[in-house]
Amino acid sequence: MSRPMVTYKPSDEVDFVIIGSGAAGGVLAKELSTNGFRVVVLEQGEYLREKDFTHDETKIFVQSLLTNKVNVHPVTFRKTPEETARKQQAVLYGSCVGGSSVHFTANFWRFHEIDFKEHSKVGDIPGATFADWPISYADLEPYYTKVEWEIGVSGLAGSSPFDPPRSKPYPMPPLPVKGNGVVFERACRKLGYHAYPAPMAILSQPRTGRAACMNCGFCLGFGCEVGAKSTSLSSVIPMAEKTGRCEIRPNCYVHRIETDKNGRATGALYFDGQRNVHLQKAKAVILSANGAETPRLLLLSASNQFPAGLANSSGYVGKNLMPNSGAIAFGVFDEQLNDYKGPAVSRIMHDFYELDPKLGLYGGGGLDARFDFTPISFALNGVPPGASKWGAGFKQTLAHNFTRTMQIFCHGTSLPVEANSFSLDPDVKDAYGLPALRMTFRDHPNDLKMMEWMKDRALEILDAAGAKTKWAPPIQEQQFAVHLLGTCRMGNDAKTSVINADHRTHDVKNLFLCDGSSLVTSGRGQPTMTIQALAYRAADRITTLAKHGEISA
């Protein structure tokens, strides 16, 4: 198996230290090391390989093999700033080399043009800190294409009339359609909608030393045993290591960014696996620790010079959290779908991406046909309301429904709300004695209303698809986030944003942030593709700045 081809001492001043090896950190590591820079990536989690991955749910969901461990890094939650937060697993993110890209479902939509300039079109929305991006879809398009071709995305260009312009087709055809995709597509056609093959970051064909998907069905939550899922671990990190200039250093819990008297970042302070503290020195620091841990790290790095936290002169570090809104509907069919086989999603539709303003709703969403249950999660959460929970009736329901159930998942906008945030809990500490991550969140009322509307459309589609039984859980305020977006947002105005369009913090010249925290709006869900496109673009911008001597000067 591949091993780091280079190692650096913490005292070696490398060109870049990158915190986090996930969707963004992996891309930045690959690009910057390819461009000739010496890079150290500090990853909180372990360096697991394909051989370490498993379908054993006790390891994945009970022991959090791939994700944040709340017994070490507790999380607290409250709905409003007036409340005292209580311990709750409110946030789930990847904690291993490759980050959340290792366990994600691999839905890989591009954002649309509207997502970057929606504020200009719709104006202010009460209760929201709504803003345009400082970049456009056109600025990002070449990087979306680069993502598709470098990491490997399956899809069919031109199959959705709502898709934004693209400069190149997908590098490989879509994955096989599933039963849920077929009935969804037929129903959409009946209703005048446009279902199309889902773009997925999963290989439909062998590519660059990686096997094609074997349709095992264990995507969401699991690592891919054959490397077919296009994670940072399977795609860009091996490329970074091959340059001989990039070290991926696992089991490093970064808890502070050090600065000098001139207010420049000098490196990252971290605990190693034995809890020894080291300072990895670097000419510049890049945080790609995700939309929760990046702002937490900035807040943990407060000093006399930066009393409100590093790069936080705006006060916007950690604010405007957008986890995306969601609704789900279930249908049970007469015949066997067997949707437990293959990746979760095979058809999506974007007819509701921009809703008619006459509906009185802001934003929009995308719907996908899916089955993202394992046998266990299906038994716990996939049976209809009112069904027996034990005994012969329960067993019969499982035996009949497991192979005949599908879901329609509605993914939608979250509006940015200033009070929705990540901050440091004043009372609860982690296993290292540092303040725990605190989440404050209550959905903007528009987002809940929009999901009600979406849920009704999903039920109509299930009707048109011929579902024998259908139901949808009630829309509720969210208390759990996996899309960690907007918490150090990008903007031209240093008073209302944390980073500029180059991902450089407004306050610290050699400190860059790039991950879900950079997003200004939430799109309609499925942010990873955009996070990676931003990372490729950020790497270009950072390289240019470095080569012009504008970082270390």
């Binding site: 498993t54 009970v62 062998p206 005994g391 329960f394």
Partner: protein, 220 residues
């Protein structure tokens, strides 16, 4: 070796028709590693108890069998759920051990109260077990209802805990120590194979391929 896991040829199939010999040579170690990893999954089937006494295990097994009974297909008993729970209480579900200790005592009291003379839950008839277990489940559903509790001191979480653990033990990948010989997956219609090819089910078998909506190919 378990016949449900892919052999070498199955991994070759994954590579599709375009894989060259050089590609295979370069990547074979990783694929073999993945295959070996998959084979290890068949090594489940714990049969030794580490936490429960034999008496406790007999009671737990009888209770689990109420959640997923054995009928035309295997149930919790055949899947070895009690051994899964025993191992789990030693390791990743160890916090739940007091719930079992209290829950088993309560089940015993409920049995004695409803059916005096029946020495223990596992000794009750199937009809009696259903009645006793219904009480246990109902108590859990209405822990704050104020209804007379047949077994004061019973943990309201016992039924929920037992239900979740039984589902885990019945349906976990056998690598996790339950679902012995994949009997749980078979009971719910899940093919235990490790990889699949399309078509997967009834609705996609005659799918003609994706086509644009006629007359609507222009951009919206």
């Amino acid at each position: 070796m378990n016949s449900f896991y892919p052999a070498r040829r199955d991994f070759l199939q994954l590579l599709g028709g375009t894989a060259s010999a050089a590609w295979l040579t370069a990547n074979w170690p990783a694929l073999v590693s993945a295959a070996e990893h998959a084979h290890q999954a068949a090594k489940s089937g714990h049969t030794a108890l580490e936490v429960f006494t034999a008496d406790q295990a007999r009671e737990v097994e009888a209770l689990c069998a109420c959640i997923i009974p054995s009928d035309a297909t295997a149930g919790a008993r055949e899947a070895g759920v009690v051994y899964f729970i025993d191992r789990a209480l030693k390791t990743f579900f160890s916090d739940a051990l007091p719930v079992y200790q209290k829950g088993l005592e309560a089940a015993q009291k409920t049995t004695a109260e409803l059916f005096p003379g029946v020495p223990r839950f596992s000794a009750a008839t199937e009809e009696q077990k259903l009645k006793i277990f219904s009480h246990i489940a109902e108590e859990s559903e209405r822990p704050e209802s104020g209804a007379r509790r047949l077994a004061p001191g019973a943990s309201p979480d016992f039924f929920q805990t037992l239900r979740v653990h039984t589902i885990f033990g019945f349906l976990v990948d056998p690598e996790g120590g339950g679902n012995r010989d994949f009997v749980g997956w078979k009971a719910i219609g899940r093919d235990p194979s490790h990889s699949f090819s399309a078509p997967f089910g009834f609705y996609d078998k005659d799918y003609p391929g994706w086509q644009p909506v006629p007359g609507e190919t222009e951009k919206k």
